[in-house]
């Protein structure tokens, strides 16, 4: 097993997005459900893991907007918003809005969408639900 960033879990999570699914890591031993995907249960340390699907609905619990580039500006033109979304199933995710500079308010109900990053990878985004 490798650390979170290089584990198989991330690749499988991305495969899910490519198929239009938001996969949540699930422990077969203790039934914990979490993100970001990793290869170790953060509740019982089991490696007997599978996936469950999120309905892709949640609420914005925090947001911020970058006016300074820390990452490649071509990938993230300024300004851009980062949302912290708490999914209805419990796990939290960071994601940009579908319209990256939109500042969706804290408390807003949002729905997941899948977009393609400048690197050609499928990425999770959110738009106001409804």
């Amino acid at each position: 097993m490798k650390p979170t960033d290089t584990g198989l879990a991330v690749a499988e999570y991305r495969e899910g997005l490519r198929a239009g699914e938001l996969r949540l890591r699930r422990c077969r031993c203790c039934e914990a459900v979490w993100l970001p995907p990793s290869d170790l249960c953060p509740q019982c340390l089991s490696q007997d893991l599978d996936w469950t699907l999120s309905q892709g609905q949640g609420v914005v619990t925090a947001h911020c907007q970058f006016h300074r580039a820390y990452y490649n500006e071509a990938a993230f033109p300024l300004p851009y918003t980062v949302l912290l979304v708490e999914l209805d199933e419990g796990p939290r995710v960071y994601a940009n809005p579908v319209e990256p500079s939109a500042l969706l308010p804290v408390g807003a109900r949002v729905a997941a969408r899948v977009a393609t990053s400048s690197a050609g990878e499928p990425v999770l985004r959110f738009t106001v639900a409804g």
């Binding site: 953060p42 619990t61 911020c64 990938a75 912290l84 994601a95 804290v106």
Partner: protein
Amino acid sequence: VGRDSLRGRIVVSGAGTTRFGALPEWSNAGLGAWALREALDDAGLPTDEIDGLIVARIADAGGFAELCGLNPRFAFSVPPTGRSTGVAIEQAALAIASGRARRIALVYGNDGKSAGARYGAKDIAPGPYSERFHWAEAGLSSPGAFHALMFSRYAAESGAQHRDLAEIAVAFRAHAALNEEAVLRKPITAQDHAHARPIVSPLQLLDYCVVSDGGVALILSDAALEEGRPGPRISLMGCAQSGRLADSSFPPPDYWRDAMARAAQDSYAEAGVGPADMSGLMIYDNFTPTVLFALEGFGYSKPLEAWRDIQDGRLRLGGRWPSNTSGGHLSEAFLQGWALHVEAVRQLRGTCGARQIPGAELIHVMAAAPQPSSIIYGVQ
């Protein structure tokens, strides 16, 4: 098993600082050595009295000991994170209290400004600010962004607005104006705070600390070694930490309040004091909202009320709890908590001149973080 009390068993024998700001000719170790020399001079001790060494942001403890000609029983480095400052001090205190060492030098050197350190850029590792998949994917980076997220939630929950943070930046800058060593001394107003350029909103430039080069050293000693020494004796009265590390690449929904409450309770019990007894506070202020989280977590305000409480000027000199009298990280220099400990010692010695808290007897140094720490110093 209960906690063995450290109260009164550890004293601060020496405190030293370098100049702060842009010091491009100095390395981390060089800044640390400069600060150590100042601390030894302050303590009136030769280097061969040091029998323990803990270095911070200086990668190689053994190399540093060689540079300074030290032969400590142990030498190790702690990670270059602000949360490690309280950890290092508590470990030093525990080593002395258990007789493993009698005089420990804690040495910090930071060449970050001249080295072009960008806290939150990809070269900052380990931790959530490096290339963590779920951060990088959304373009999330930087400790400032993390605190911006936390403040956005705090604002929605409490009714606070960005302008309510101005008092923190303005008060600490007013203190820095009285501190010749501070990097930023020009007084600012709430209007300046409101009109500063956004960095990661809702935070703007004057909500961010001032990245600086500098070194800090403290010498902690077994109190028995200091018997009969003239002058005020500065003791460690209470010391505790806690952790909220699980899931810590996300903002804690309680702003680390539970973890801080545990550290507060342990340190207050050890010192036999509480918030009402404190002469002044040194609050880890990497960003303005952190001050609110700390005030609430360590019991100086009720949850979600600190933003309103501070508007009465309580954090200013002459207020109920003068805080960060040096200017803190926001205006003196961002030295990851270390210089706040030195300021606490100098306040208790009564050597702070124009920024002195009259009759200071107890100073509480606190940090809101995934690993909060609470350290109380007193005059004996």
